[in-house]
Symmetry: C2
């Protein structure tokens, strides 16, 4: 009825104008609704009001669209994490817990992005942009780990890379197993954010950070 040329704000005719952006949006919506597998190239085209062949002018195939979504996801992810980290202010521990909450919030609020990034099976080197965005996101985690480790006496510092991997693994584990919008596959005695926060506190305690020397606000 109304998908084409009727919308007053976009009186496009034969040429859509910015089909690529709209396809990405449609893909995000579909992935969010029906999972990364339920997403269909043809349906995204339908949503954008174009023929099923039109998307192929912008993406080589379905996988390339998914990779593009994943890359945008990593960029948004990195932006959210770096905003939460805020260069470690006011102190690394406070900022670190903000970071953890931001991680889970992203996985929870942007399930479509998170799915495309981690659960759609998109190989990281599907495109250089994807690889670069993923690397930037991980670099953020690593920076935060370094700042926390710097608080330890020189002899007791674990490798920052290892700590960053631990942080990532635990965050992803909590998000993947318990952090979905539907409450995860299993009822929890606490929220995913609380679970991650508690886990990271214990982990940091094990490293010798927190509780004893630095601040422990609220």
């Amino acid at each position: 009825m109304s998908w084409k040329r009727d919308r007053p704000e976009t009186p496009r005719g034969y040429h859509h104008g910015n089909l690529k952006e709209e396809l990405v949006k449609a893909a995000l919506g579909l992935i969010g609704e029906k999972g990364p597998n339920g997403f269909t190239f043809a349906e995204a085209a339908r949503m954008a009001g174009v023929s099923p062949a039109a998307p192929y002018r912008h993406f080589r195939d379905r996988d390339e669209l998914l990779a593009d979504v994943a890359a945008r996801g990593f960029e948004a992810f990195e932006a959210a994490l770096s905003r939460a980290w805020d260069q470690g202010r006011p102190d690394p521990e406070t900022a670190f817990h903000r970071l953890g909450r931001a991680y889970l919030a992203f996985a929870h609020d942007e399930p479509a992005y998170y799915s495309a990034m981690f659960e759609a099976g998109v190989p990281l080197d599907a495109s250089p942009e994807l690889r670069a965005a993923a690397d930037r996101a991980f670099a953020g985690l690593r920076q935060a780990s370094e700042a926390l480790i710097a608080q330890l006496p020189a002899g007791k510092r674990p490798p920052a890379l290892m700590m960053a991997l631990h942080v990532w693994a635990m965050s992803h584990g909590v998000a993947a197993l318990f952090g979905r919008a539907d409450g995860g596959r299993r009822p929890l005695p606490m929220s995913a954010a609380e679970l991650l926060e508690a886990g990271m506190l214990i982990y940091l305690q094990g490293l010798g950070i927190g509780g004893n020397g630095a601040s422990k606000p609220d």
Copy 2:
């Protein structure tokens, strides 16, 4: 040429005999090769040497086969974990580290099962058997956590359920991000098993378990 009625050990004719089992095996192989999405009902049928409609006599639809594979996966998983835990012998910490290695070994050696269980998007209540098997597997983790926690003085014991969730999250995070057969999506300075072992040691340290009181063999 030779898929049907020719194999000497199974001289089946019109009726296959145990098609259901063979379909599950075929599904496992396909999932292992091409991921849970690359798996195709029709191709599984082809592998078993039957027509594409035959599988519908044994599974309502593709999702039911996947759920069956996932349930068998959880059963094998629970068996592997419980074998590794071995009732906490010779001491809970030693057994616990064996458990961690067994978790990763399962994810690494049975990627098809692990995919079906955690990455195929099968809802846990797709079948009662699936739910039950998954619950049994988790109960094993919880038991191990309880045994470790019991070593702590009564005042300092965290909830066993929470600890089990932490263990599960970290294990799954490491397995999903770094533990795949292809080495994961990112080169690591250490093996996934070492990464998990180090992470769990730090976590236990944070709880006050290990390093100080109990044994730390090999």
